[in-house]
Amino acid sequence: MVGESVKMKTSCSERIFNVCNIIILTALSLVILVPLLNIVFASFSDPVVVMKYQGLMLRPHGFTLSSYRAVLRDPNIFSGYRNTIFIVIAGTSLNLLLTLIGAYVLSRKNVLWNPFLMMMIVFTMYFQGGMIPFYLTVRATGLDGTIWSLILPVAVNTFNLIVMRTAMASVPDSLCESAMIDGASHTRILFNIMAPLCQSTVAVIVLFYAVTHWNSWFNAMIFLRDKKLYPLQLILREILIQDDTTMMTAGSGEDLGMISGTIKYATIVVATAPILCIYPFLQRYFVKGVMIGAVKG
């Protein structure tokens, strides 16, 4: 009797807890989604309605593609996309190449200078020259003003290098030794044995590098002067933060003040939609990356 009533009580409080939990998490999901949905709906809505609307939009009000037309007419958005895609592809390839090489060399045993090199590299994780000396160094190399200033100065990320090195160090030595006996060079072992064996780590660090390149804007802001070279994020900064929509509203014939509001919403959608569309498919790699970083870092 007593035992039964205790069981009843716990299961009852348990049920209340579960319901509350679901309510809290649903509310949190809504809080995260609503600002994003508001942007999407506003971008499709009639600019006049958006101007006057009170509060967060939960559905489109009126339907028009005029703001999207204005955004796609902007040559800067196009050149921004083009530059960003170039930076992501070229930058990530170089990142991957150097990270693989560095990780492979540093993961070899019986290399006299490795402990020293490793120490020097880890030190840079905790102490850095900082913004101004970095800027002056890049300027001294003559890279500033070119798109390479966004690629070469960030060619290796120490954290990713260490993650990669740990993965390679855990590959059994015997594999490399037997390849050595068969006469394979280190270069061959690295690209034909190591890289395929560490596939999942390679996938993770490629994603990390690519996302970093995609998101970065600060280096572009301080190093680039020619607007034709600007990556997408810097163009977005001009439109969204510095409030410069002249390129889009010019010659549109529509009421400029009205449309510039919805243009910004449409710009956000155009710049973010591609990433958010691929993200659900890549989510598990990212999650894996967080774990790898956590265990090894």
Partner: protein, 321 residues
């Protein structure tokens, strides 16, 4: 006779040792030549772009001008540091940096832990999967776009401003109000990171042995008791590591986000050391002065990581190195 013999032998051994070191270097280079050749590009990267700026820090002790260049600028000792410490802005940027990072630690840091605990209590797989997918979403939006969204929603005609208008808030651009800058910064920070940062705690939670909970249930421990006596102690290692990392980043508080969100009207609460370095150095061209401020920043933040690490080693046994 005997004595001389021993000295001679020791001398010989010493010679051998030295010789063997150089021999070792030579032999090592002969065997590993290909590895060293491969490593050259990586080494060059570290020398130029990581150690280059570190040696470039010496301009903090010089009067650097681009015309005179790096080597011919005159040494001025600690002048720039003295100027900074007696600067009117010194107290302001230091307080702002500490205030923003401590508020971030208090409000932003615990949120992912709470979220992970709530998600792990869910029974339905599909519901928990969709909560995770939704809460991870903001992590994939670039900082420029996040700030763009914030600017749009909190502008004088923005959705949030209008929504708060129902409760009597003034209909003005919220980011121009120094009292609202910090709440906007912190709340949007929670929005950005709550989901993504919970991953690590979720994985720590799934690795807790289920038998512990079974045993506790048999002993009559309720849910709350299990949380306090099993879950939190098992999570503490992860929490401490994340805390050390967060403290280490304290003096580099998301300056990208602040640069995008602040404006002269809110400098009094929003200007932190790193944005001050940017403004003084890259906008006003006080190279040496801003390098000195940056060096101060790096040293303090290095000291902080070192101290928290030492402290946590002593208190809980978990540490970074």
């Amino acid at each position: 006779m005997n004595c001389r013999c021993i000295i001679l032998r020791q001398f010989k051994e010493l010679m051998l040792l030295q010789e063997s070191f150089w021999q070792k270097v030579k032999k090592d280079f002969r065997i590993n030549r290909e590895l060293y050749l491969l490593f050259i590009p990586v080494l060059l990267f570290y020398i130029i772009f990581q150690y280059g700026p570190m040696f470039g820090l010496s301009i903090a002790f010089k009067n650097y001008t681009p015309a005179r260049g790096f080597f011919r600028s005159p040494w001025v000792g600690l002048k720039h540091f003295k100027n900074f410490f007696s600067d009117y802005y010194f107290a302001r940027v230091l307080t702002n940096t500490v205030r923003i990072s401590i508020l971030t630690l208090i409000f932003t840091f615990p949120m992912p832990i709470i979220l992970a605990l709530l998600i792990s209590e869910l029974k339905g797989k599909r519901f928990s999967r969709s909560v995770q997918t939704i809460t991870y979403l903001p992590h994939f939006i670039s900082v420029v776009v996040v700030c763009g969204i914030i600017v749009q929603l909190t502008s004088s005609s923005g959705a949030i401003t209008k929504f708060l208008g129902h409760f009597g808030f003034p209909q003005a651009t919220m980011l121009n109000n120094p009292h609202l800058f910090l709440p906007i910064y912190i709340i949007s920070g929670i929005w950005q990171t709550i989901g993504w940062n919970s991953i690590i705690y979720l994985s720590a939670l799934t690795s807790i042995d289920g038998e512990l909970y079974e045993a506790a249930t048999i002993d009559g421990a309720g849910r709350f008791r299990q949380l306090v006596s099993i879950t939190l102690p098992c999570l503490s290692g992860t929490i401490v590591i994340m805390l050390i990392l967060a403290v280490g980043k304290m003096f580099n508080v998301g300056y990208e986000k602040i640069l995008l969100l602040y404006n002269p009207l809110t400098y009094e609460v929003s200007e932190v050391i790193s944005t001050y370095v940017y403004r003084k150095g890259l906008l006003e061209f006080n190279w040496s002065y801003s390098a000195a401020v940056g060096l101060f920043n790096s040293v303090v933040s290095f000291a902080l990581v070192y101290l928290t690490n030492k402290l946590s080693k002593k208190l809980s046994g978990s540490s970074l190195w």
